[in-house]
Structures are given as C-alpha cells and as structure tokens.
Symmetry: C2
Subunit: 318 residues, 2 copies
C-alpha cells in the first residue's frame, strides 16, 4: 500500500479558515477580513484586518508557521492587522523569512512604521508588489501555485487563486510488486514500463489516477466582474464577497461591492463547485438573508463564519 | 440648594476605563494599551493599541464622542488601533474635529495610510506633535488641562497628566437668599460681598469650599524615572506600568520598563493617593504577583483590568 500512502492524507490538507467575515464596519461578533489557508501543512494568510493576530491566537495557530501573507488591497479592513502580526512574529523570535504580497503602497506603509517604532526585525521580511492584472503566477512551490485576479474595486485590488500542483500517478497496489524499484518513479510520472524481455506494459495497467488538483479563489473586495470568470472557472471553492443584498444594488455599484445575487451568478457562470459568501455589511445582523438570495441561483452556497473551517477534499474524478 | 447643584454630580465625572492592560505580546484575555477617560462628559482616549475600536464597542462607547486622542509612543501596542478607529469614525459619519496628539512620526504614519487607502476623511483631523519634555500644557479647556510627562523608554515616550481646573466656590445654601443675584458670580469667584449699607460680608461666611481639582497621571511605557516625581506629586490616581516583577529587574532595565516594586516606589515617593498598575507582561497569567510586590511599598494599589472603570470622586479636603 506504499503507493497509496506516499502523501499521507493528513499532510495533504487543503483547507480555509475564515477568521473574519465582516465589512469595513464589522458588526458585533464579526471581524474584518482575514483567512488562513492550510495547503499541505504550509500556512498562508490572505488579508489581515485589525485583530487578526488575536483571531489566530483563538484558533491556536503558531504565527511563525505562516510563510506567506497575501494582502488584497489597502483598505484598512484588509490590512490593518499586519503590522501587529509582523511585530509579534519578531517578539516571538521568528527567524524564517516571511513573504508578503500586496499593492505597491504596502511596502512604504510597513517601512514607515518599522522606522517610527525603531524596530529591526529579527527575520528577513520580503515585501513584493502586485501588479493589478489577472493570471500572473506570483508564488509557487512543488505543491501549489498562486495566481492573481484583478478585482474591480475603488482602489487597485487583487484576488488570489490557489491551485494545487498536479500529483504523480499512484502505483496500483495490486501491481506494485511487479514494478522494479528503479522504474517506479518513472511509472508514477506516467511512463510505460519496459521489462527486461522487451515487453512494454502500458502505464494505465500499473497506475491509478492521482487526486485532481484542488483550487481556491479569493475574490474580495470586488464589484460584479464577469471578466474574472475565465480565471476562476471550475475552482473547487470560490470565496466571493457579498456585502449587500440585491435590494442595495445601487449602493453595491457605488461602493464597488457585490450583492449575494451577483456572487451566486459568478459562481454559476464560472461553474465552480462550491461558493462561500463573506464580507457581510454590518446592517445584516443575520446573514441568512444573503444565503437565501444566493441559493436559487447557485445551490451549493455556504456562508463564511468567524473561525469556521472549509475543507476541500481530494477526489479522483470530476 | 441651587449652589450645590450648579454642576450636577453626574456631569462632573472623572473616570478612567482601562480597555487594554497587556504588554507588547498580550496574554489571552488581555489587550494592548488603551484607556478611555471621561472628564465632565468629555471623552479622551489615551493610547490606542490594536483592537481598541472593538473594546470601545464592547464598552458601548460612541466613538464620535471622543474629542482627543493622546498617543504616548510609536510602539505598535500603543497606537496600531488608531487607523482603524479614524476610519470607523469616518464611516460612521463623524463631522466634528478630532485632535490627535503624538510623537512627531505619527503624522506621517497616518498620512501615508490615508493616501494608500485613498481615504478623504469627512471630519477635520488635526495631528499635533509632542516634544519629549515634561510640564508642557498641550491641551486645555475650562474644565481640564493636559500636561506632558517625559517618560524614559527605548524611543521617545510621553505620559500625560490630566488636571481638573479649580472650580468656583459654592454658595452656602443657608446664605444664598441674602446674596443679591448680581453679586453671586463675584462671590463664587471669591469676592467679599459689599452690601448697600456699606457692610462687607467676608466671602468665607457666604461660601463653601469647592471640590478639590482632581488629577490623573498616565505613565506607560517607562523605566523607573524618579525625575517624574515633581510632576506627578499628589495626583489622585497614578497609572504606572508594571511590566515585570522585581525578579526580572535586569530585563526591565534592558527593555526600559518598570517592575511593580518600582511603580510602587514612584507612587510612595510622589505621595499619590492611589496607584493603578498595568501593562503586564504576558508571562504573568495572574497579575496578583505584581500586586503582592507593590502592596508592602504602597498599600493603596489597584490592578487595572480589561474594561474596568476607576472613578475619582470629588472631595473638598485633603
């Protein structure tokens, strides 16, 4: 069974914790935007509103496991928790490099504050500027790549697409004994097996399909932006802001936010598997009204919630 | 009884709400520094660590009633909640001027962030730089004046002394009928009464002592700084940081913080009425160890606590 367990399931996690689901003026019990992604036990933070470090403590996350932070835009409810988090990592003795991606203005905002507090971080901090366009790979490892999404908001705002890398094929447990050790890596990579007697065993007879690469798109804050559909088509999970109900469509347009109906329309048209709504205006004491608006258009819709964990499970067929 | 009720007691409040009592890395349940002062129904905020707006919401304070904010220094645990609060005031439709006092670097930190978020505040914001010296009156009204205290910390840090203005003398209720209306203001100001027949009634026979002016000193963050004693002598309430116990005196010196023993020594030597300890290191899960250290030196010592209200009552004699 070695092939099946090459990546232990527990190390293949792909999950999103929504730490904050409120809009600029959060209602009681809601917090500004922040999400923690665990992809194969690597932690990524997407947006970092005020108080995010407090939310991370509540979720019992070791800050220093976070390797990258992605900031969508420079509205305070998406980044004002960053300086406190950077400072706490420093005080906690972090030594590993931290990568921060954000709008070009972010670096000055960080530098001015480090200078004012005379803080000399103990760890290397790299701040990288995002251009406002879709489809640029800004980060990649052997497990995941992160692409940009040009959202439509009052100031330049970038969403993020997290895409798992294609995995190697799995050796069929019933056939693994017949494959010489030296040939196994090649077979996992899709090669046919050439036996000593010249026989060729087709790869399909020796391997099983690997799990499909999983994907997650983060779209907040944005007006209804159908030009994003090509970039998020078929993602497993789409987090799309739903600040208002359609009754406030004019207000949504004016502030360049979306309504729940528009979020659901995006999910339907992009044929995503699951839609996760968030960034709720504080006027909605209960956000079920937003869910009710989305469901008739896209039935597989969920509501984000403070501290809730959304796991994307592995599957091998569409 | 009109004289006695000239200032209704409920409008003569002098109270301090400690919103956050933690140090740079707050323990669970503690928050970074912030205090709300209510002096005669005018609200002042002293320091504004990350999450202060959330604490103010919990305390059911209308942000827009806050007229002045005083920032002691540019360490993140004392100011990182400011931008979020300024932004929420804006989104809540504030129109009244807001005064913010802080180190010279504060203005740039605010301006850079307003620019990055393309925020044009709806209310006038005046940011005033504090020079690092004691005894300067930086704000005054007919009710209160605020003076600076040059604290000793790793970066320039200013404490604040809030001093109630001397009040008018009170007309003795049993004598008030004998004082002509036109003469009452003069008598309250301490003048003797000249009757129509030429008789002079000494002021002491017509009036009662007004309450003594109350005072509050905020000293955080600071190393043990006996040169402050002359400036805080006899205050009703001294908030003094007590980051460590004396066991960690070397660490206190190195980081330019105080121990509880040092805070108590300051209180005793400055002959203050009450000492309030705060800014507790997260290593102390219970802060009673800090209280226990202070009490033998200064018995009238209290522990600050998240959301606790400390009221300074009026009194007419020492």
């Amino acid at each position: 069974m070695a092939g099946l367990f090459r990546y232990p399931r527990c190390l293949m996690r792909f999950e999103i914790t929504t730490l904050g689901t409120g809009a600029a003026l959060p209602a009681r019990g809601r917090y500004p935007s922040a999400q923690l992604l665990n992809i194969h036990e690597r932690l990524y933070l997407v947006d970092c509103g005020e108080g995010t470090q407090e939310r991370l403590r509540q979720a019992e996350v070791n800050f220093n496991r976070i390797g990258c932070i992605f900031i969508s835009h420079m509205h305070g409810d998406h980044y004002l928790g960053l300086m406190g988090l950077l400072s706490s990592m420093h005080l906690n003795g972090r030594q590993d490099e931290l990568l921060v991606f954000g709008p070009p203005e972010l670096k000055e905002v960080i530098d001015v504050q480090l200078r004012a507090s005379q803080t000399y971080l103990r760890y290397p901090l790299r701040v990288r500027s995002l251009a406002h366009k879709s489809g640029t790979v800004v980060y990649s490892t052997d497990r995941v790549e992160v692409l940009t999404l040009a959202l439509e908001h009052r100031i330049p705002t970038t969403g993020f697409l997290f895409r798992e890398r294609a995995m190697l094929r799995k050796l069929d447990p019933s056939k693994v004994a017949s494959i010489p050790h030296f040939a196994r890596n090649g077979v996992k990579e899709g090669e046919d097996l050439l036996l000593a007697d010249g026989t060729v065993v087709p790869n399909a007879e020796l391997t099983l399909d690997p799990p499909l690469p999983r994907s997650y798109a983060y779209c907040s804050d944005t007006a209804y932006a159908p030009e994003l559909i090509d970039h998020i088509r078929g993602v497993d999970l789409l987090y799309h802001e739903a600040t208002f109900t359609d009754e406030l469509l004019a207000r949504a347009k004016e502030t360049m936010h979306s309504t729940a109906r528009q979020a659901a329309t995006m999910a339907r048209d992009a044929k995503v598997r699951t839609l996760l709504l968030g960034h709720f205006s504080s006027r909605y004491k209960s956000n079920t009204v937003l869910l009710a608006e989305a469901l008739p258009i896209f039935s597989n819709t969920l509501l984000a919630n403070e501290g809730a964990v959304f796991r994307i499970d592995q599957r091998t067929s569409v």
